[in-house]
Subunit: 256 residues, 2 copies
């Protein structure tokens, strides 16, 4: 029974600035079928308004409440805990954390800072952890498919570096955190068991969603997918499909 659809963005809907063939029409078909859609992205290089604008430019209209990002989850965490952030994130993402300077606690927030990752910034974050700051990871993805088509280091590598040196474990805000999947469905009236996730990351999107209790998870062979990814993680995908268009066929054939 499928009553809500969670879609990853990079590698599923688009690759860089280009829509994945058939993806825009597939989103349209899902909307026409009346299925609630949520866009759950672990991208932490772009602010929300840019992601929404980028989707709009491709022809995919997304309402603010339909887009779930780790930065939004982190801001909620910081508000709830009364903490101010020490940011190790992409400069473009910093504005999303404004207004939290008054917090009493202190939390290191690590995202995909890209070129902003350097020894000095990592060492400053490490020293905050040593003196007891909380440790928030926006995402722990190992790699992403870069603009040149090759895999590049994602936030998870730098989270692992800080984890190793500080012997501290992070609170993970984005996928594969079960909280992230659940909060994305919070206002959909759809229990997790009736939702399907579509993603290109067999670990974070697929094993993550199934571990969080989602009813199904479809691995697409686009984006960062590499042959045999479906055998590398547990739980394995419900199905492996060519792309979002094929995933949509699968979803629309499932009982509702």
């Amino acid at each position: 029974m499928i009553r809500a659809v969670l879609l990853d963005l990079a590698g599923v809907v688009y690759d860089g600035d280009t829509p994945i063939p058939g993806a825009v029409a597939a989103v349209e078909r899902l909307r026409k079928a009346g299925l609630p859609l949520r866009f759950v992205s672990n991208t932490t290089r772009s602010p929300r308004h840019r992601i929404i604008a980028q989707l709009g430019a491709l022809g995919v209209e997304v309402a603010d409440e339909e887009l779930l990002t780790p930065a939004r989850a982190a801001v909620e965490w910081l508000r709830r805990h009364g903490s101010r952030p020490h940011l190790l994130v992409h400069p473009d993402l910093e504005a999303e954390f404004s207004g939290l300077e008054g917090g009493k606690g202190r939390a290191v927030v690590v995202g995909d800072a890209g070129e902003a990752f350097d020894y000095a910034s990592l060492n400053r974050a490490f020293r905050e952890l040593v003196v007891g700051a909380d440790f928030l990871a926006l995402a722990t993805n190992r790699t992403f498919k870069d603009a040149d088509g090759e895999l590049s280091l994602d936030a998870g590598a730098f989270v692992a570096a800080l984890e190793f040196a500080s012997r501290r474990s992070p609170v993970v805000l984005g996928k594969p955190s079960p909280d992230f999947f659940h909060s994305s469905l919070a206002d959909s009236n759809c229990p997790a068991a009736d939702a399907v996730m579509v993603g290109d990351d067999a670990e974070s999107d697929i094993a993550g969603a199934l571990s969080a209790g989602l009813g199904a998870a479809l691995l697409v062979r686009t984006g960062k997918y590499r042959p045999d990814d479906e055998t590398r993680f547990d739980p394995a995908p419900t199905a492996v499909v060519d792309d979002l268009a094929a995933a949509t066929d699968w979803i629309l054939k499932a009982p509702r």
Copy 2:
């Protein structure tokens, strides 16, 4: 029975440019007792000649064959395997790897690159690993005591980042590699069981040496030592002593 002594350098003999009180006289006493000494350092920021000059300036004369460094062990590994290095090391260390450009294989070599660690250099090393280069870690130390007296990120954090993203495990050249401890004793005619290690790193120096079969390992309360370090790793130190002077007392009282 103690018939050879292995000494760590930073945090045991000196701290930055300053000798640790009593350390120079302690080395002198060990030499006078006729014990073979080996200096086994995981420092990968300084070339050998500078370490030897630095020790000389403090009043500790060290012969080339008495100093074991991970860079030397790595060069031997690369020669043995006919590999050329892709270096992610401190610029000052690069010259030690000259003459290896003709190797057929390819090996990523990660040391404590310090400020040379940045996103681009880490990502280049990661991409070499993805296409099958061997993976050599000069050291996997988590932290070192920096010039300002605080702990800073050491090579191990960046090795962990590459390990996480590439899902590859490195060959570790320096401490705590058993090969490194054994090769430091190779020309001493002293079996590992009759040697003692003195260090300030409870994990790499102490648990490492004992796991490699050394007869004893003394943890000093200088350098990066922090209270309770002796309880954090297995095996625990043979003894915890104030400093190298106290370690020397311990060694000279042991049967020979």
